[in-house]
Symmetry: D3
Subunit: 294 residues, 6 copies
């Protein structure tokens, strides 16, 4: 009996969120451990299926660094890095695209479809979804910042949302690989966090959820007591400028800033190592991770 009271309580706690998010679009950046550990993987898939069935429109953007690295190694392709970014020649970007689109994306689509969704994989090339331009790496040298060409690493020049709109209106779940192309059809590898942020802004998403492998953002990374539950947009910008955000978190915080500036209501950096962290974030009163808000 106790159990049924708790069950009813949980369902009722979810009620205002069901109401709030009905028919709304949520962009999810799927990456890290949640993409490797098979239990976590199943938990993410279940969470997305549940969102779908309560009328939410989830859009997934996935990463895939480790698998790209593994394939480059298998094919005997050496990589060099500048400022943490892989120097990406024609062959490297082709391999990255092949792994992201032909392997990782295909697997996520398959898991979602087997679980009952109607998922459709997209690369940024499909219907010109992600128009890319060259990203220049910033190199700190002798007290100066110099921009260096590192090949086919891209920034987003423009998002053509038509195909996403068509798929969402027809009840499909779009799964997007972070590959874009310029007007000549040249492929670019783009940071998946940035893709998620730009997409959220472009399609007018209600929420952006970024799965990571940490609890969230700390004001001081070494002081567990300095955990930040809610970070205002201006604070976030300031922390980026001040350099007080841990390197790995910078793209995530920047993605949040971009989405918020573009009209997304709330953005969340969530610990993907916790099972059903998406579900709990959306449907329960307890927030998890760090939310960045206007």
């Amino acid at each position: 009996m106790t159990n049924s009271i708790q069950q009813a309580a949980t369902l009722l706690e979810a009620l205002p969120y069901l109401q709030k998010f009905y028919g709304k679009t949520i962009v999810i950046k799927y990456g890290g451990n949640a993409m490797i550990n098979s239990d976590l993987k199943r938990s993410v898939i279940q969470d997305i299926i549940l969102m779908k069935y309560v009328g939410i429109r989830p859009v997934l953007v996935h990463g895939g660094g480790p698998e790209i690295t593994a394939m480059l190694k298998k094919l005997g392709k050496q990589s060099t890095f500048i400022s943490g970014l892989r120097v990406t020649d024609e062959e490297t970007v082709a391999i990255a695209e092949m792994v992201l689109v032909g392997k990782i994306n295909a697997e996520i689509v398959s898991l979602l479809n087997t679980a009952g969704a109607k998922a459709v994989g997209l690369s940024g090339k499909d219907a010109n979804l992600l128009v890319a331009k060259k990203h220049l790496a910033k190199v700190h040298e002798a007290g100066e910042i110099r921009e260096v060409d590192i090949g086919f690493v891209g920034d987003i020049a423009h998002v053509n949302t038509g195909i996403i709109d068509t798929l969402l209106e027809n009840d499909y779940v779009p799964v997007i690989s972070p590959i874009g192309s310029d007007e000549n059809g040249q492929s670019y590898n783009i940071n998946a966090d940035y893709v998620a942020g730009e997409l959220a802004a472009a399609i007018g998403a209600e929420k952006l959820l970024l799965l990571t492998d940490v609890e969230g953002i700390y004001r001081d990374y070494y002081d567990k007591g300095s955990f930040i539950s809610t970070l205002a947009l201006d604070d976030a910008r300031e922390m980026i400028t001040a350099g007080s955000i841990d390197g790995g978190m910078i793209p995530k915080v920047e993605a949040c800033v971009r989405a918020l500036a573009g009209g997304t209501a709330k953005t969340h950096i969530i610990d993907g190592r916790q099972p059903h962290s998406l579900l709990l974030e959306i449907f329960t009163d307890r927030g998890t991770g760090t939310e960045v808000v206007r």
Copy 2:
């Protein structure tokens, strides 16, 4: 942490039901204690709001015997009963209609709207929803069954579902009083269980839920061990014929039989004294009460 695992489990347990009932219509007969006790009342309202927000289309039919009796008493109107049915003259049916439509229905509509739904009250007269014909009471006399005219107690001759369809398509929650009228506009008081059963059949409801003040159906009412969780349609018909169903439950079981015959997939007689019994019946694996199925 434990709690969040349970919460996620509950939400995930609800998943297949969310999927199954999305866009489906569920007819709920609301009556008994759940209409009197204010905690239970709030729990029913919450349950219906939740259904609405996960894409279910609830349709309520309410009863109101005790309040009609109270008003008749206040107005000094005496009632006689034949075979358990109130002899209903012109004045009595007018008072019944006034109480059902102008008081009980109005209150339910108000509770739902205050809680965030868009409820609209209907009597069976609105848009000719419930076309009625005279119901004759069956009197057992000297080993024979004789039919007796007891006034304006009605059976349903026809259901015009147009207004229900219009309201459901426009996202309203219809709340229906069990009053019908014949082609001359004469009002009839109709048993609310029958109204719910006929409506479920006519609008092609997926489910019929009847709230009662007992646990469900027992094969032998005095043997608590004879509780029936699932009752097949044929068994139900047999038990009615055999007279082995407790008098008060007969209209409910007959309503189930009618709905099932008309195409409703499942019907349930539920203990309305348990808080959130609607929610638990619909969204959890544990069944409550007795289900009557084909």
Copy 3:
């Protein structure tokens, strides 16, 4: 033969009005003798059916003072009055609602449906149609005006036209009881003339017709020669301020003023004691009663 020439002439006289009002909404305040005398009642119902079949969208608002008074008396409930308004406690408003919604409204709906319309009864609570706030009576005391709380007598705070739009688009005739509720679901009894005026403004009605038991407005009530056929909006406002309008007509004139201010093109105060006065007002060149226009 003569007759057929007259018939053709009447039909042709109606032509420009048929053209003008096709697809337009007309709000009708139904009250007074026309609601009591059974011949007049039938004539009003026929007129509304005819409007419907020539493509007009009629919306009815009904009153019901005498029947409320009768029921209060039957139930032994004493009333006191302040400035002509009934002091309305919780019990009184509940009885008023019961009579208006459960008796008068139901009867009008039934008459319309029997005559071939698809009428649907609404109270202002349905789909939050009429959001009410407390109306304070104005008491003239020692040369000053003091506002007095007389209970659950309401003014209209807001009209949610959604349910009216849905019903009109689906070819139903809405019949509305002058009961509203506030955000807590508390019922208020509202003057039906005001409801008609506010509704006409809110739904963008083409015309407002108010049935009364007099010929119309006189500049000097005791001088039959001072009858006003057409009254300009500004004149109407002035006459209200100057106190030169007979008490019973004030709410009607104020309803006209409100509707005109909200965009209704023309408003009419019509003698409901004349059979088919609605029909003649709408479809013939002769005006009846007093029209208040911009």
Copy 4:
């Protein structure tokens, strides 16, 4: 006052017909005196405008024999006749088309538009509305019937209703000249009564009204007492076979037979010399002329 009672009575008498014909299509064959006398002309135009504004969809087919004859004479073109049909060579059919389409049709369209309709003239060539084939005249010779080629007089091989549907759905009044063409584009002059009958059948008209210059059909033309108000389809066929119908009425009765066979509910032969005969036929209880029914 008396007058207003009569006016109301007329409007109410029209009520069931308004209801019955709302949204229905009525084909009207316009010809004879009603096309020549300017008062009758105005009366027909007014009647059609009224139909339009009460939601009826009128479709006009016009004739024009006298004007064709006049133009042929002006141009010095001699005509010979076989079995009452004009021998129609290439030049004659071209003149007929010119007069029907470029003069008579244009004038009717203009009158309707000036009176407030949106009329569009069509010949049977437009969008291949009337596909024609050669009509052979039947010559009684020495007790035998011989078929004779009299040139470009046509029968209807097929009706393409697309353009009529498009115009009716967009609220236009189609006005049709009785000119058809075969697959090579060759023009044919077709009897306008037949065109009206075939059109009524093809577009599923509710009613066919044929204006003539007589009272209707007599069983014995010389016995005014033998007037037929209602003629059954089978009787009509029999009377045609028996030759007991006056020559000029044969095409009209055959048009009725054709329309009824194609699904039209009722057909009427009406005295077009009586003002507003269309209006009185449709909207009053008194029938005029002869109706041919199934």
Copy 5:
């Protein structure tokens, strides 16, 4: 083989034009030799059919001066001319209308339909397409310009595009006679070039094509070397003012100016004596004739 390479090249050359004009409306003024010579006639019809099948929406406006003159002569009607315009009395305009609508228009419609289009003939009277007003002739007299009433020669006061929109949306090809009428239904004969120009402006045509019997416009008509391929809008206006445009070309250039001012992107004066000049103008890189552009 060579041939198939050329065929592929032609189809590919057409590609950008197919893309550019898909779904766009093109107004074509059809007149001159192309309406008389039967080979040219067939070539124009084929070109229009091809436009239709690649998704272009052609609208035809035709002239017909020579045939009107011939008919006037046949009917023994004398004409006088003022400033090159026929003095047009009631009888003359009636004959013009009859010939344009009942003969020329009907023939073009028939040719298009036989070739596979769904053409519908319209006069400017249909659905009030062309509302006309009197055009006054300008007479140069003693160094002054005097305006003279020459009867029912019209200018365009207003274009009601509704019927054109309806026909285009339903895939019909409108063929329009240059006859308009004023609010009293009086017919006017209007210059077909002006009709084409005004129509192009009113319906937002992408292109206006005017068929003539010359190569195009010359800066100096007697110097073949002064041919103008592209004429800017301002130059065109200047040349009209300066009187340096040949008389017959003035209405064509003015029609271009009118269409361009109204939003049409490009206008072309084309040599209709060259077979398939419409096709070559639209679908090949080589321009023919003179284009007038902004």
Copy 6:
């Protein structure tokens, strides 16, 4: 001038085909030389763009054997073959999928989009487009045919056309990789010819075009004089049974048979080595290659 006559002739020759295929779906199997030679590649892309702009709905299915073989070799993966089919273990099918979806498909999409289409790449996994089941190789052994499991080589069990319909209705060009999956999400490599045939049948394509590297089908492969322009469905079936079709052509002929049986009107095996062979096949009178028809 000669040239413009030829141009007009080509455009006019294309006319009936434009008419015939407007709005129709054509499935194209893209493979062989036309996928390797860069001139041919550009010619295929141009042809598809042209189809799109004349209102045809092209659907591409691509192969990719040589590139899969190259990648397997690069990754040091050995292949064995049974009856000409590659034994396909888990690793092999993963590599095939990666190359087909992540490389070849992506490149075609990119070429189409750069040329002006809106192409979207799909694998058979997307929205469960291609539901696969295991294909067993047939091994001829000692006069008997034995079925052998060769791993994840698939047949098509079912086609879910929903995503194709959605994309076509929204003007996208679907580009499909021949990868399917079963209900457990297991990937299968499927022969692209079969995919094209099944798809054509499932989506009701008007035409199936299969690009090959030969002229078409010969009755006797060594006798150039035995070339077959048109092959009847029954003959095709017979030739397959009789073993008289060259091995490489069998899947193509079987794909034609499958599409024709499923309702496709015509199927064509076309020499992809000839530039613009698609265009010439569709838009000119000369047929190329072999057509298989009912």
